[in-house]
Subunit: 596 residues, 2 copies
């Protein structure tokens, strides 16, 4: 080893010992007679001092050439810092190293992105990604990568203790039924054939259950050839698992235990279990969304039955057409949102498809008032106020539309107002389940116009219905609810799973509803259907998004901050400069060889 | 849960308790009045009994429909097996379950590959791969997957305890400098551009060192678009790591510790450390190969200096041309290899490029004798015998050729004879290092004829020379030895690594020797070179082949047996039937969309 200790190791108890450190020059202060250097590595910062009489003059002279990010090896004696000079920010802040030997291990050009602790300004993301090797030196990025490592290790240990087997499933394989666009990989050996990169190990993990592995887990890389977004990468990682001889409740209980462990180990938070479970229908009714943020209230109240009593044309026409009038009551919102604030909210809901934003302020007498008050009798407003539990100073915001339209608008308002009014502690973590999703939804838009209005699977065609929903496969598919469950953290879907169908008869009915005929089923899922015919146990599983888990546990806003080498929006600009994308020029030649 | 216990849980101490098990019907014996079923899951086998009076008659009747691989749930009472009927092979073999309730969870068609313990005949591999879901049920395959999980977990834990960070590097990325053919992935978003699948995370892990991560580890999926072999898959897994501020000795010491731990934990073998280290030159001299099998002797003896004293034309012409005459002495070989045996060895060495096989048998008087004895004086044969430590009954086998030719032939003979004469305990594990590989080799064959005879890097162009070899970069590149080290297990290269160049001047010299001009270097390795200019620490690492490690630790002959879903030679046959390859018909359409 080129060092005896790291830059985070030394303490007062090491006083007087001679040690060797290696690291990067985080910052330096020349004070004429000598030099102070903050030496940095992954483990911490240690002050190293080039001063007479400890440091020979030739080394002091040499030290004057040191610059930011130079890599050095220094040997010297550990001494307490002078009285009052200790730096409590660093674990090694009470000592300093009085240098007797210096070796320059490498120079650095002046860094365009400074990783130094002393620089607090963060450069723009393009520059950071272009010089990712410098960006990754920043302590906040190192914390992100270490957190990611800890979450991954915590997950793996948790499942290993429970007898799960980590099995690697292929990256080069068949297409899987997730529905997004696959990346395709031409094979040179099998001319004209392609592999697909997996969107998830779904089919493989089901086969592992059929193969008797009983409990499978994997931290799996998955791929979707889709556009980038702030929270989406074409290559992502999921904690993927599957169990046999269990039901939906067992999977949720298992994940409850994982959440308790991670929250305790990483954030020192005690999470009570079982985590709350809410049906999809309840989530849509109370929060307008299937991944509600439960860190604050602003629950939706349905006023559809009262709307016809008003003279407000908008409400009446919506309810006449079978639509809904729903509202949220924002405590203190009347003061927080001025006239201009309401205008901004109006613009916002228009972006979500609303025609406008009806509202009431609750005045000091507790009366609902606004420019539309005249359309509502005093009694009607009082009744609405009671239903909404409206208090003086509150703001009532309406959405009148079809059911899903009101969900979209009121969910959007909840989220926006939650953030703007800081209705939650940003460090709080809220975990819950949304369960019993619909089995089927009507396809609304698709490449293929013939598909519109037909049933499609809300999850995938192997999802099992609830036991008491099986009959609805025949009489009313819209009523079918699935053994499906999503883990929600702070309003984000952190993961989700389902129990799979293991009964060939049920599977055949589901395929029928989805318009998948026997030949198509055989073509697309043949090898899984084949396996299902040879003794498939009841089984189910879940996948958690690792990138998102790290983001939420670490309090990061951007998924790229928790991935060492992310793909970027400006990938084409970076293609020849940053890791992550192939140099097209170099590979064109190979592509020709491969007969692409 | 659908069960209270697994099929491996129950013991005599559970006597009298009522339990529920789930599993597969491994075998069944109808004895008229009732049925015995061996119920199997991943954890073991439990005998379940459908007999009066414990089992109601309707359940006995239903049980008669059970067939191999049916999945059932049974409830009943745990009782000791009748006197003398215990099955010591199974941990639950002393008890049986007297069934009171039966639920058929799923049927199975008659399995073309039987996973039953009672069937000892293994079907051919094509059939096994086609029905992998059944093949994977076989206990030996489950042991392979569990061993793989344990080795992986053991590695991860070992490095986590030593402060290594597990960092995920991209699968979709740039081309890396390993030299095999890359798989290419067309990007839909960046039209006309390609990603490459990594042959190793080499460049990324070097960037992580430059980024200050200090100790990186990852169980990494790697890809090479090459033909399949028995020991090679196009998609493989390596334990990949890199450290900063270390030298070659530190990496080897680290891996010594891993080997000790794995051998102890998995095989209960105590491996003494440090593992023996042998230079590349010594390995070639003594064993003719850079991955020698040290479980047995048969060391090569060089007799080039004695050859001219003989009248044997073959030897004389070879030594006249500057070639070598080398031999191995096989203890007891004279008896083991009859005339016909020698003929077979002769055919064998011809396949390795030899023109024939010169040999001596050592007779009872200790005299070297054969059809070529007449060309050698008695004294010369005695001198040879002494050098070879030849004893009565031994067999001496020669190779006369250029240096590398003799290496190839004598290594081949060593390996073949070692196996044929069973010179080692098949359960023995031998670990060692081969170190100090040449930096450069002359390119012998290449697509590009201009490359022939030019220097190429034996590892990759970032490999650092030994400190005392740096000067040879200028005066004699052939003499340059690298800070490179391979871990050898039982004659297989289980992994290898190098210390990387961190000095720009040395890197520039190496590029020069390899004929890589500045522009090419910038083109191919630009983003790494850029990173190296911003304070690169001394660093190096290693990669161990996980598939091969599992194969060697588990005593498997075939790498496909340690991979859940391997690619196969007959992949085209299996393409629409087994997991692992894309259905070409289905994907052609997508390929058109992607403008391939």
């Amino acid at each position: 080893m080129l060092r005896t200790h790291t830059c985070g190791d030394l303490r007062l108890t090491d006083k007087g010992t001679t040690v060797t450190l290696c690291g990067w020059v985080d910052s330096y202060r020349d004070h004429g007679g000598g030099l102070f250097v903050d030496l940095r590595d992954r483990y911490g910062i240690t002050q190293v001092v080039f001063n007479p009489p400890d440091t020979p003059q030739d080394i002091i002279d040499a030290s004057k050439d040191l610059r930011a990010e130079y890599v050095i090896q220094v040997t010297g004696k550990v001494e307490p810092r002078p009285e009052g000079m200790a730096n409590r920010k660093h674990a090694s802040g009470e000592i300093e190293l009085r240098v007797t030997e210096l070796k320059l291990l490498n120079k650095s050009k002046a860094p365009p992105v400074s990783p130094s602790e002393s620089i607090t300004e963060i450069p723009n993301e393009d520059l950071r990604l272009k010089h990712r090797f410098l960006d990754l030196r920043r302590p906040v990025m190192q914390r992100a990568m270490i957190l990611r490592d800890k979450i991954t290790k915590g997950m793996r240990d948790y499942f290993a203790d429970l007898n799960f087997i980590d099995v690697e499933t292929p990256i080069l394989g068949r297409s899987t039924p997730e529905g997004a666009r696959d990346y395709l990989v031409p094979s040179r050996v099998h001319h004209g054939k392609f592999y697909a990169l997996p969107q998830s190990p779904q089919l493989y993990k089901q086969i592992l259950m059929i193969a008797g592995y009983d409990r499978y887990v994997q931290v799996a890389r998955c791929f979707r050839d889709e556009d980038l977004r702030a929270d989406r990468q074409p290559e992502f990682t999921q904690l993927d698992l599957e169990m046999a001889f269990i039901d939906d409740d067992d999977i949720m209980t298992l994940i409850d235990g994982l959440v308790v462990k991670l929250a305790k180990d990483l954030l020192d938070i005690d999470v009570p279990t079982p985590l709350p479970r809410m049906t999809y229908d309840e989530a849509m009714r109370r929060f307008g969304h299937d991944a509600p943020d439960l860190r604050y209230g602003l629950e939706i109240v349905d006023l559809t039955d009262l709307a016809p009593q008003s003279d407000f044309g908008v409400f009446k026409s919506v309810t006449d057409a079978g639509g809904h009038v729903r509202a949220i009551c924002v405590p203190g919102g009347a003061n927080h949102y001025s006239r201009r604030g309401i205008d901004a909210l109006t613009e916002f809901v228009k972006g979500l498809g609303a025609k406008g934003l009806a509202y009431f302020r609750v005045n000091e007498e507790g009366v609902l008032d606004s420019n539309i008050a005249k359309f509502f009798s005093e009694e009607l407003r009082a009744e609405m106020g009671t239903r909404l539990d409206a208090k003086p100073g509150d703001l009532v915001l309406f959405s009148a539309d079809k059911w899903l339209g009101t969900c979209k608008v009121l969910h959007g308002l909840r989220k926006k107002i939650g953030e703007e009014m800081k209705l939650y502690d940003p460090k709080a973590m809220n975990f819950s389940w949304v369960v019993q999703f619909p089995m089927f939804e009507r396809t609304e838009d698709a490449d293929n116009p013939q598909a519109i209005g037909k049933w499609s699977a809300m999850h995938h065609p192997f999802t099992a219905p609830l036991d008491d929903s099986v009959d609805h496969l025949d009489d009313d598919p819209a009523k079918c609810r699935a053994k499906a469950y999503d883990l929600i953290i702070n309003g984000y879907e952190a993961g989700g799973g389902t129990i799979r169908i293991h009964d060939p008869e049920v599977q055949s009915k589901v395929f029928g509803l989805l318009g998948i005929d026997k030949e198509t089923a055989q073509d697309r899922f043949g090898f899984l259907l084949e396996a299902l015919a040879y003794g498939a146990p009841p089984h189910g599983g879940i996948a958690l998004g690792l990138d998102r888990m790290v983001m939420l546990f670490g309090g990061f806003d951007n998924i790229r901050d928790v991935i060492a080498f992310p793909k970027t929006q400006k990938a084409t600009d970076l293609m020849t400069e940053a890791p992550g994308l192939v140099d097209a020029k170099q590979l064109k030649e190979l592509a020709i060889k491969t007969d692409l």
